[in-house]
């Protein structure tokens, strides 16, 4: 078989919060599940994130937001993706997302929500089952 397919995941932190413990643990967990994980570090603007997605062409993007800025940042990020006709990337959010915000974020095209206490394998399975390519 010539196929050497690997799942590529972008783990990124939009906004200003510096709480990267979760993002790093998840990045490491996905790596240990055999995925290739690109980690961008902190303080990514929606444009930074879109550029990274365009260039790295990941299967999935995990946004880690703990500052409560998700309702402002997610629409901007999804707008950017739309602008570049990117529709085959799975996008999920990790962090503190109140239940009542989830419907709005789902409408924008975000597919998974993982709060504190989520096991890594849950996220691994979610990525494996939901990637679009």
């Amino acid at each position: 078989m010539s196929n050497n397919r690997k799942i590529k995941v972008l783990v990124t932190k939009p906004g200003l919060d510096g709480h990267d413990r979760g993002a790093k643990v998840v990045a490491r967990g996905l790596r240990d599940a055999g995925m290739e994980v690109i980690y961008t570090g902190l303080h990514q603007t929606p444009k930074d994130i879109a550029n990274t997605i365009i260039q790295e062409d990941p299967d999935a993007v995990l946004l880690s937001i703990l500052s409560g800025a998700h309702n402002a940042l997610c629409p901007k990020i999804m707008e950017q993706l739309k602008e570049h006709n990117i529709d085959d990337v799975l996008v999920a959010v990790g962090g503190i997302i109140p239940e009542e915000d989830k419907d709005y974020l789902r409408e924008l095209g975000l597919q998974g929500f993982y709060g504190p206490g989520t096991e890594i394998k849950t996220i691994v399975n979610f990525v494996k089952e939901n990637i679009k390519r």
Binding site: N3, N4, K6, A27, R31, G34, V37, I38, N51
Partner: protein, 333 residues
């Protein structure tokens, strides 16, 4: 025409997303990579390729970041390929090199691509070369390939670079030792990064001593030997400070000097020949291995013969000759 012709068309128009997608395809599927490279080959050969290596802690990313800033200012379109190791246990990888390069990020003049080496022998340099070609066809003027500089396959990558830069840092102890194996011999410019740290000058003399020991190599037509390693080019040493940007103009001068050297001595055309030979050989090696493996897995005759080796009625050497015969390539030259 291939199933990728639409993507390739968009790539040749300079569309970033198409380039990125083709890279993914090339990385994941070797047969597809062949198709892609066949279609774009005539559009490649315009980029100047820089190989950059350095041990962890040598400040490589910051160094590259500063270098990019300089090059972008000159109006160049830059491609960067950051190679990181895959975990041998799980096959996964953590690719974190973008983290320090985002600062002057603009999609129009800088294309950064992270790559895991996926642990295959020789496979890395092949996949990297495919990605270099796609970046080249995409329109990058300069392509920077960055690795941590350990292992044979990384040495192979640098054989396809025009100019190889190796970073060392004052006070980092044995970093010269770690880059010595293989990379030392093919480095064109040594960078003493973080020159503001104490011990920078000591590092320079350490390097000179090391280079003197290694200066007895000479150019040969052996394709395993790097093209530029003839005794005419004496590796340069440049001290830099990536934070302040000190000495980067000097560094660019040295890179240009090396480029001129390659042109003037005709090495660059020789280089192309050598490089292409090496590349073809690598492809052949890969393809033959594939074929042999396939034969091993499917041929009943071979299976029986292996039994004979076990029974000592024949030996592995005779067995190998038999297989070459079976493949019908023994006498074809």
């Amino acid at each position: 025409m291939t199933q990728y012709s639409e993507l390739i068309e968009r790539l040749l128009k300079g569309e970033t997303r198409a380039a990125a997608r083709l890279m993914t395809i090339a990385e994941n599927d070797i047969e597809a990579a062949e198709d892609i490279v066949k279609s774009i080959y005539k559009n490649t050969g315009n980029a100047y390729i820089l190989g950059i290596t350095g041990a962890p802690g040598s400040g490589k990313s910051t160094f590259i970041s500063t270098l990019i800033r300089k090059l972008v200012k000159e109006g160049k379109k830059i491609g960067v390929i950051c190679v990181d190791p895959s975990s041998p246990l799980t096959g996964g990888a953590l690719l974190g090199d973008r983290i320090r390069m985002k600062e002057h990020f603009s999609i129009d003049n800088l294309f950064i691509r992270s790559m895991a080496n996926r642990g295959q022998l020789g496979g890395l340099s092949r996949a990297t070369e495919d990605i270099i070609k796609i970046m080249d066809a995409y329109g990058c003027d300069i392509i920077i390939v960055e690795t941590v500089g350990v292992g044979q396959s990384e040495v192979d990558i640098f054989k396809s670079a025009h100019t190889v830069l190796a970073l060392v840092v004052p006070g980092l102890g044995d970093d010269i030792q770690t880059i010595k194996a293989g990379i030392m011999e093919i480095t064109d410019i040594f960078i003493i990064n973080k020159m503001d740290l104490p011990g920078a000058d000591r590092k320079v003399s350490e390097l000179i001593r090391m280079l003197e020991l290694n200066m007895n190599y000479s150019y040969s037509d052996d394709i395993n030997n790097n093209f530029a390693k003839i005794n005419q080019w004496t590796p340069e040493i440049v001290k830099t400070n990536s934070i302040s940007g000190e000495n980067f103009d000097k560094l660019l001068e040295k890179i240009n000097k090396h480029k001129e050297f390659l042109k003037k001595t005709g090495i660059i055309s020789n280089y192309h020949k050598t490089r292409i030979k090496s590349e073809i050989l690598k492809i052949l090696e890969y393809k033959m291995t594939q074929k042999i493996e396939k034969l091993f897995n499917t041929s009943e005759q071979i299976d029986k013969s292996i039994q004979k080796v076990i029974n000592k009625s024949t030996d592995p050497y005779s067995m190998a000759e038999l297989i070459i015969e079976m493949m019908g390539i023994e006498d074809s030259f």
